[in-house]
């Protein structure tokens, strides 16, 4: 018999002896995402295409998995970044672009700017709300087929 240690918490009506990891809410053989920090704020985005940046200092020493959301105050909807919104449906053209860059292993830069500057040049400044989640997990690759 293997000398096995660990903690398992099952879903209701599932056996602790199950070999299917999906039967557990927590299983010490499988990592769970851990939120290192969250933050939120608002950014003024100039109508002339000038980029507004927000620097997030995490000091983890590596590039962590990161999710940012941004709110279009015109519609009240939240979008996940990187993103341009709202979606161009032929009558509405994307106004705002939100992206992020791993500046170095201790900082992430959020960038906010108007898209299609020639169309929107001279438009009023727009305020974009954002919220981010920074995880302890490092450098996870995107899921692709």
């Amino acid at each position: 018999m293997a000398n096995e240690f660990g903690i398992k918490i099952t879903l209701p009506n599932k056996s602790e002896n199950s070999s299917d990891p999906n039967d557990f809410t927590l299983h010490s053989s499988y990592n769970m995402w851990k939120v290192s920090s969250t933050g939120s704020g608002s950014v003024s985005v100039a109508g002339d295409g000038t980029e507004s940046d927000v620097t997030i200092t995490h000091n983890l020493g590596y590039n962590p998995y990161f999710i940012v959301y941004a709110k279009d105050r015109t519609t009240g909807r939240w979008h996940i970044g990187p993103v341009r919104f709202p979606r161009n449906d032929g009558t509405v053209i994307e106004r705002v672009c939100v992206g992020f860059t791993y500046t170095d292993v201790n900082t992430i830069t959020l960038s906010f700017y108007r898209t299609f500057d020639s169309i929107f040049a001279g438009n009023p400044t727009e305020t974009v709300d954002y919220k981010y989640y920074l995880f302890l997990e490092a450098e996870l690759a995107p899921w692709t087929s």
Partner: protein, 116 residues
């Protein structure tokens, strides 16, 4: 000595007393994303989520289309550079909106609220 209490669960073969936080399976010091609901879209009709708040989310898109803006297969969140990261899914405190559909989309909604 700090009066620090909590629970840590280490991966097999790691000592929880010395392991880095990122190498733990779970720790009571750090929140974990908890799934509230998963919605399946096969059309762009908005779906009520019934959560009463604006949920954090991620989504996966499947498409069979191959063109300048689509890549066949599954992608996570908004499609990348070629597609210009144009928004696909958005949420408010009542609905999940799907502004574009390849073949199908799964939206995973979390307990966390975005507007707090």
């Amino acid at each position: 000595m700090s009066n620090k209490r909590g629970i840590k669960i280490g991966r097999p073969g790691l000592d929880v007393l010395t392991a880095a936080d990122k190498d733990l399976v779970w720790s009571s010091e750090f929140n974990t994303p908890k799934v509230a609901k998963i919605l399946h879209f096969t059309s762009t009709t908005p779906q009520a989520h019934g959560l009463g708040y604006v949920p954090a989310f991620i989504f996966m898109t499947h498409t069979d289309i191959v063109d300048a803006f689509d890549t066949e297969g599954w992608t996570l969140n908004n499609q990348g550079y070629t597609a210009g990261y144009v928004t696909t899914v958005s949420v408010d405190n009542s609905y999940v909106y799907c502004d574009y559909l390849g073949t199908e989309i799964y939206v995973i909604l979390f307990i966390d609220s975005l507007d707090e």
